[in-house]
Every structure is written in C-alpha cells, then in structure tokens.
Subunit: 421 residues, 2 copies
Amino acid sequence: MSMEGNAIVAQSGGPTAVINASACGVIQEAMKTDAITGVFAGHNGVLGVLNEDIFDLGQEDPDQIELLKSSPSSALGSCRYKLKDLQSSRADYERILEVFRAHDIHYFFYIGGNDSMDTAQKLSQLADEEDWPLIVMGVPKTIDNDLAGTDHCPGYGSVAKYNATIAMEAGRDTEALYTHDTATVMETMGRNAGWIAAACGVAHRSPEDAPHLVYLPEIPFSIERFVADCKKVYNDIGRVFVVVGEGLNDGEGNYVAEQGGQFGKDAFGHTQLGGVAETLRDVVQEEVGIKCRYIKMGTAQRNGIHFASRTDRDEAYEVGRRAVQHAAEGTSGLMVTLERKSAAPYQFDTGLVELDLVANGEKMVPREFINEAGNGITQAMVDYVSPLMQGEVDIRIGDDGLPVYTRFARHNLEKKCPARE
Amino acid sequence: MSMEGNAIVAQSGGPTAVINASACGVIQEAMKTDAITGVFAGHNGVLGVLNEDIFDLGQEDPDQIELLKSSPSSALGSCRYKLKDLQSSRADYERILEVFRAHDIHYFFYIGGNDSMDTAQKLSQLADEEDWPLIVMGVPKTIDNDLAGTDHCPGYGSVAKYNATIAMEAGRDTEALYTHDTATVMETMGRNAGWIAAACGVAHRSPEDAPHLVYLPEIPFSIERFVADCKKVYNDIGRVFVVVGEGLNDGEGNYVAEQGGQFGKDAFGHTQLGGVAETLRDVVQEEVGIKCRYIKMGTAQRNGIHFASRTDRDEAYEVGRRAVQHAAEGTSGLMVTLERKSAAPYQFDTGLVELDLVANGEKMVPREFINEAGNGITQAMVDYVSPLMQGEVDIRIGDDGLPVYTRFARHNLEKKCPARE
C-alpha cells in the first residue's frame, strides 16, 4: 500500500554529532520515493508544526542536504517541548493534525528519544481516531544510549569515541607533567545512564593509560570510596585521571551535581559547590592532597563530528533511510532499531519496535559491564562499544582551515492555519 | 665546525598537540647526523638531567619515534622546574654540566617556552665558563603563542584550530535548542595572552555563527559591558555564545578567575564563585536572565592532536629538525623561529633568535587584531591565524576505534654521578 502525500521530518531533544545524518537519510530517501510528493521540515521539532513554522526541503540546495552527513547538532532546529497524554495535551495534538491536513502531510518522521516516540505514538493514535491517513515513523537518537528496544542508539558511538579520545589525550597531559597537574576529573553527559562515561573506560588499555577510574550513575556513589580509590591509584603510579558521569548519585536520590543529601556536605564535612566535576576536583585537592584540574566538555561533546564514529554516522543515515522505506510500504507506528547481527566481525541490521515500548523504556549499563569495585568497566563493555567507534567522518573544510557545516535557507511554507494564541 | 658527542633532548612546560612532532624532528635528524653519536632524552625535562634520569632513544622502536608525529602531550615527560639566575641556581647548573660530562653530552636541545630558553641560555653561558664544549639550541613551544622573536609558535595553530572548531560545534548546539540552552560561555587557555580565545573568533563567519562575543585578557574586562553585550546579542538573534580567555582581568591586576577586586563581588553585588567560565555563566543567568551552560575544555584543548593543524604539526617538526642542522654546523645559543615569508599563499621559513630575547619577551595580541568594542576580532587576526590552521593530521587508530599514541620503553642510561641529596 502506498499513499500519496507530503512528508515532514523533525528533530527533537538534545543534538548529537549524527542526528543530521539521520535527517539526511530521511530526506534523500523521501525525495526519491514516488508516493512522497513534497519533503518538509518542522523548524525546531514539533514546535515548528504547532507554530506552522515549516520549510520546504525541496527548495534547499541539494549540496547543503548532502552536507548534513558531516554537520553536527540539529540543522532543522530542535526543541524540548513535551506533549503529554492525549487527554491533557489534546489541543496540541489536534493542532498538529490541523496543520498536517492544511499541508496535505501524510508522512511524519520524528527523530528523537523516548519522549519524542511517545509524542509520535499518540499522534498516530489520534490521526487514526480522526480518520486522517498518517504514517508515523520514529528514528532513534540519543547520545545517552538509554533507549529501549535497540542494541544501541545513533549518536552514542560518536560521543563515546570522542569522549574516550579526550580522556586519552588529556590523560597524557596528566602523565607528562608529573610534578604538576597530576590529577584530573572529567565529567561526561549521559544523565542517569553511564554509557558515555563507561565508553571512556576503553581508553584504559593498560594500568598506565587514563582513565584510571570510571564512575557511573548505575553504582551508588560514595565520597569515601572515591577518595580511597584516588589515593590508591596516585600511590601506585603518581597520577590519577577520573571520568565521572554527570548523574552520579548515592542510589537514594541524592545527586552529586545538586549537592543533594550527603553530598551537600561531603563525608569529610566540607560544603561543596558547583557541578560534579568541580565538586570532585575539590574533594581530590582537599582529601588526596594533590592539585587537581577538571574538564567539562559540556555540549561540545555531543557535537564532535570532527572526530565522530564513521560507523555511527553510517548507521544514523541508515535508520533514517529505512524509516522512509518502511513508511513507503505502509508501515506505521514503529521506530527503526539497530540490531547487532554479529559481534566479530561486527555486522548490524535494522529492525522495528513499537513506539510504546521505546516511550516507556530505559536501558541502563548492565552490572556485568561494570567491574566488581564499581570504579571501572569490564571486557564485556569494551566488546559492546568498540565496534560502534570504528572509523572517522570526512569533514568539509573552509579556506580558513575550519569545518563547514550545513545552514539551510529555510523557505517557509505559506501559513494556512490561523495562528495559535 | 662539527663536534663529536652525544645529544640530549628534553621537553618543558605545558604539553601541546605537536611538541612531540618537534621532538621527532630533533631525534630523527640527530640520528642521521654524523657528529652526533648517541641521542638521549631527559625524562621530565631538565629534571631528568638533574636526576640523571635519562633514556636512550637509540634503543626505542623507530616506529614509536615516528608515531611522535601524531601523539599529543610530552612523550619524553615534562616539568615546570624553574632554574633561576646563575648565581642563585648555580648548584643546579653545575649539576647539569656534571651529568653532561659523565655522558659525553655536547648537544642540548630544549623544547619549551620562555622560561626554558632562559635556562638554556644560562646553561650555555656556564658551559663556556667551565670549558665544556656544549651546543645549546632552543626549540619553541607554547600554545599561548606569546613567545617573542617568532611570527608564531608551534602548538598554537593546533590549539587555535581545535578551540575554534569546538566553538563552532557547540555553537550549533546553542542554535538548535532555541527554547533551551540558548547561552554558553566557553573558557580557553592562554594565560595573559588572548591568542587562543582570539582564534575562536574566526569561526564567527556570519552574525549567526558562534562565537558572537570574544573577550581577551588584553582588554580590561568589565562585567557591565559584558552583560550589555550579551543582552544585545540575545535580543538580536535569540542566543549568545561567548568565548573568554582564562586570564580576563580588569587591567589593574584583578582577575575574574581569582575573584580579585571588583570581581570578588560583581558589579551587581553578587559574590561569584568558581573560575572564569562558571563565574560568567552565573552572571549571564542572573543578569541576562537566561539559562546558560559553560564549557571548560581544560587540558583537553592543548592535546587535541585528533583535530590538530597539519601546518602546525609540520612546522613543529621542522623547527626541531632545523635546530639539529644548525647545531651540527656549530651554531649555539639560539632558538629556531618561524618567519612568515608570504601571507597569501602562506609560506614560512625558519630563522634564528637570541635565547635572551625570547627569555625576556612576551607577545600579546596587538590592538589592531581586536575590534573597537573589545568584544571580537578583526580581519587582521583572521588573516594572521587562518594559514596556521590548515590541514589535519593523520592519526593511527587501534582495533578499538581509538587513537594509538607513542609510549616509550625508556631504557635508562646507567647512572654515573652520585645522586643529589
């Protein structure tokens, strides 16, 4: 079954190095799909649909679309606008359908994480109820790698490779200046999931190699054990490089970043200030008694296309492309997944999963990927993530020596629906 | 004139992405120089000489030496051990000569910044006085680019390219999530010189492109103007990405990083805590009234060989190589420099400068490279730095997808001098 109509693609949530590659997969495949007439973009995710702020990708330079494959962040714009259930957010869902009807949109491709899949699922449900033929396909995206129903998530391999490389390079700094700068705390993103921090552990190829300690939010964090671990490493090799996930907590809802509970005043009675990296830097200085630096890559880590994983980028493109192919065959209400067909040599294929399952799931780092002491990773984690970090992405470079990334002209569609107040 | 004897090379001060390329230039050239018999390394800079902790590069795998060209940080080890004048540090200088005599070392190649050139110069002087034939050559190194006597300094082009790329990529993040994460403050290294922060300004190719504001230590910093600038940019384009040098100060010795003077309690009466990035993040949140993130790459920025400048790397190699060639011809007491022979197309040559001049000089960003408002750069700065950021460095990659960097076996020379107490 194939339905004629326009398609819209939108990006949601935090950017990644390769979410644009997924958009590129959707756009390029949609443009050569007969049933799809126009290919549009919602500017800033579903907000663009709600505000009828939609631009026509058919009017963009095809070279700028191709350039999406090596451009970080969300070139279509993104949002964190969360639609709730059909009852409480009904006006929003109705509005989306109104805009879809006005522009003859029958295909909706939403690239995002679990909240986006929830929105996509409910929209699909409402379209059914209201008899608007709509094919909805989810395309997975998150650096956190915590999406259920997929072996891993596009965006993760790149942030993993980049952060691990940073740990390796900055670790060499700690090694060089053995009389100064002998300790460093590096904070990674990942919220409650430790996947990104865990990937840094791959750089620890030998006892010499940083990071010497890795702490994940999956393991309740203790300042005392942290201090003891740091002291031991420092005594053994004269330096210590630590990677910590931003979501470190004590397992009882107290976060280091928020100075919650026991972290408000640390185990040694000091009041800590600042985020995880700053807090633990202070702890190292005061309790281990050595100068300590910290590294907070912040949003730079999730946009590092300049040293992204080629495997991740190619998979990101592929899930976008496959979403359109499935849609053209009449499939709807599903998200494209990545399945690991073979570990060595690594081979993947795409699969499909119900949007519901993704919307309500959350995948943490399994205990067997973390060492017994809870301060490092196991070979199982190395085996899991290494295939996802293979290869680099070719970047277009300008005359000034710096990268060149996509920027769209954004020819907006004429507005046909009365503006929302 | 050519003198037979062993050579020693050492690295000093903060690591860079390409200081190992300079070491490689020295080592590979020294190994094919007839007059030079053995090629040794001082482990951890001049400390290795003082402690007679010296290893034989002739016993290292030549492939590990070649790998120096794409390995960050200081593979020979570094130090911040400062030797003072000949009078007050005479024992140290004597000790160095004692070790040199014991190992028949007649060539000393010191890769470092102005303090290192000062040490090299004084050592050369003492060797003359004590009739130990010693050729001393300086090889420039510093990410700060503040060395006098050279057009630019190896290490700078790479940190410039990498930081500018980070500003570009994280800037796209600020652009994507226009309802969240609309402001970011990124802190760069560079101490009192603004060269690194200024290079980030090249990424601001259009009003859309981050960084929208760049503040250098060369211009007295004012919180009021900073707030006004941020408000203006935010009102104009709905976001603001700021790059700040770590050495921001008010021109009267009060540093933002140290919460000195007026920065202890900012102009609006708030007490600020933390470094430059955290402090200004708080100012943006409180005074501009928007959520603000910050990025502190820390030591990661100076070790980013994974996206270094090929031009910088090649020049770093060349200054090392030329130092040996000059030494073999009997030249001593000079540092190799980089001279810009032609702007477009960019062509460089090496030159020579007295160690004294480097030891006592400091090169700041000239006023004409900074815009009138003191919150951005001019075309002159773009023209200066762009040629230095050209090309990328090929990195060796391991099976796990991550880079592979040099690690030496370090076969130490037998100790011949009584240990210092």
